[in-house]
């Protein structure tokens, strides 16, 4: 579904990604593990069309998407749940969700949108209770859910999550990950999960990659990675 070959990204003159290649198959949950500043977010931004200078190829459903504008990439079916949530804080929950439908919104498909809204509220009941509240006044966990829900509103084929666990209490993280698994079971949505918290990420994924200083240093099936010494040592805190 997504196929990345020798992707390089520069910020100023610094090479933030040094020739990254990876692929994601339809219906998979793939995870990308790496520390702070290892290039995870850069990679995601490059896929979503938000990075300034990139070279290489990124094929999505066999179509080159590198260099396309973010608005087109969203329309093609890639939706990003960004790091730090990136909500429209002074707007209501409802407005945030409706903006998620921007890529296909028209007067004609109002029905579809309202049913999609209902579906989102079913998935995240807490958002349904807070429709009219400003997004900035939500708690961290609720904001993260809203961010995911907003991404889902655009009818994505591939959902990319950038560190959804950051700064949240373990209990809420657990809740969010349970929802993700539920989502996967119900819709067979393809997901690309980027995490610093390797334990969590490896729990839900089927395959994974490890990135360090802008390079993929390891890849493999879930079990392979979980038993890899390097991963154990660096990311799971076990000797």
């Amino acid at each position: 579904m997504l196929n990345i070959r020798s992707l390089k990204t520069y910020y100023e003159s610094i090479c933030a990604l040094k020739s990254v290649s990876l692929h994601i198959k339809k219906g998979e949950i793939v995870t990308l593990i790496g520390g702070n500043g290892s290039g995870k977010s850069t990679l995601l931004n490059s896929i979503a069309g938000l990075a300034p200078r990139t070279t290489g190829t990124v094929l999505f459903e066999n179509r080159e998407i590198l260099g396309l504008s973010p608005s087109i990439i969203v329309r093609l079916g890639i939706s990003l749940v960004p790091e730090g949530r990136q909500l429209f804080y002074p707007m209501t929950v409802m407005d945030n969700l409706v903006l998620g439908t921007y890529s296909y919104y028209s007067f004609g498909n109002r029905k579809e949108i309202s049913s999609r809204l209902e579906w989102a509220f079913e998935l995240f009941p807490v958002l349904g209770d807070r429709k009219r509240q400003l997004a900035g006044t939500l708690s961290g966990g609720e904001q993260q859910m809203l961010s995911i829900a907003r991404a889902l509103m655009s009818k994505p084929k591939l959902l990319i999550l950038d560190e959804p666990s950051v700064g949240l209490a373990p209990k809420i993280v657990e809740n969010i990950f349970r929802t993700l698994i539920e989502l996967k079971e119900r819709t067979d949505l393809t997901m690309f999960l980027v995490e610093q918290n390797a334990k969590l990420a490896l729990d839900v994924c089927q395959r994974g990659y490890v990135i360090e200083t802008g390079q993929i240093i390891l890849s493999g099936e879930k079990e392979e990675l979980m038993n890899n010494r390097e991963v154990l040592r660096a990311y799971l805190g076990k000797e």
């Binding site: 003159s13 610094i14 702070n36 373990p170 657990e174 918290n197 334990k199 969590l200 200083t213 799971l236």
Partner: protein, 261 residues
């Protein structure tokens, strides 16, 4: 372990709220003179907030902070470095409008005194002072193994060098306490090794190092003392060994088991 004269920095019952969020909650800690002390904890645990409190960028809602027995939480941010505290930032705050040596020279600000008029006239004293600043900057660049690139612009050198420049700037102030906020972020293994080396050498010249870092290996290797924060609270405190075996720390920070607790 709170043994008076040995303590260079002490925080007592410090609380800081942002709106509804309690970033630092009733936190007390001591940093021993000449030690390498690490602060670890998950994202959002309040580590950077703590650094900002120490360097005076924000003021605590309650509680006090002492440096060498002097109360510093009421001081303006620019007064803090004169006492002997300097710091680096998590997101690399170097000055792209200056070349590298000038960046390091800004670190000497507290050790120089020329005002705008004497600098303008460049009288003998100001010229000598400028000369001294440059010499000292060169000295510290050499100390940090980045000599010879002073005339370069920051964007001409790799990210890791920029980080070193920032640390050099902090060290050039010849502080008694240096705060390093995630110095290893974005560095690869070799670079991290060099960093460890550097931190040791900073400590060798008598500077106390307080460090926030995610790289657990680095922390375990270099720290004399580790403080673990979670949700603004201190949950553990001790040597690397003590902390590593602390159940609570394993649960919260090392990402294991907390789902089942």
């Amino acid at each position: 372990m709170n043994n008076g004269s040995d303590t260079i920095l002490a925080a007592k019952a410090v609380t800081k709220r942002f709106g509804g969020l309690v970033a630092v909650s009733d936190l007390s800690l001591d940093v021993r003179h000449g030690s390498i002390t690490a602060i670890i904890g998950p994202n959002g645990a309040g580590k950077t907030t703590l650094f900002n409190l120490i360097s005076g960028l924000i003021r605590p809602d309650s509680g006090t902070i002492f440096f060498k027995g002097e109360r510093i939480d009421t001081k303006r941010p620019w007064e803090i470095p004169y006492l002997g505290i300097s710091r680096t930032f998590q997101n690399l705050r170097v000055f792209h409008n200056m070349n590298i040596i000038e960046n390091v020279m800004t670190g000497r600000y507290t050790h120089s005194s020329g005002g705008i008029l004497s600098c303008a006239a460049r009288l003998g004293a100001a010229r000598r002072e400028e000369q001294k600043i440059r010499e000292k900057a060169l000295y510290w660049m050499k100390f940090m193994n980045i000599d010879g690139i002073g005339a370069k612009k920051l964007k001409e050198v790799p990210f890791e060098t920029q980080r070193i420049v920032e640390i050099t700037r902090a060290v050039a102030a010849e502080p008694e306490l240096v705060l390093l906020d995630e110095p290893a972020a974005g560095l690869n293994i070799t670079e991290t090794k060099n960093l460890i080396d550097t931190i040791y050498r900073i400590r060798e010249i008598g500077t106390t190092v307080l460090i926030v870092e995610h790289d657990i290996d680095l922390i375990m290797e270099i720290s004399d003392h580790i403080i673990v924060l979670d949700f603004g609270k201190k949950i553990a405190d001790g040597t690397a060994k003590q902390v590593r075996n602390d159940r609570k720390v394993i649960a919260v920070y090392l990402g294991e088991e907390y789902g089942k607790q």
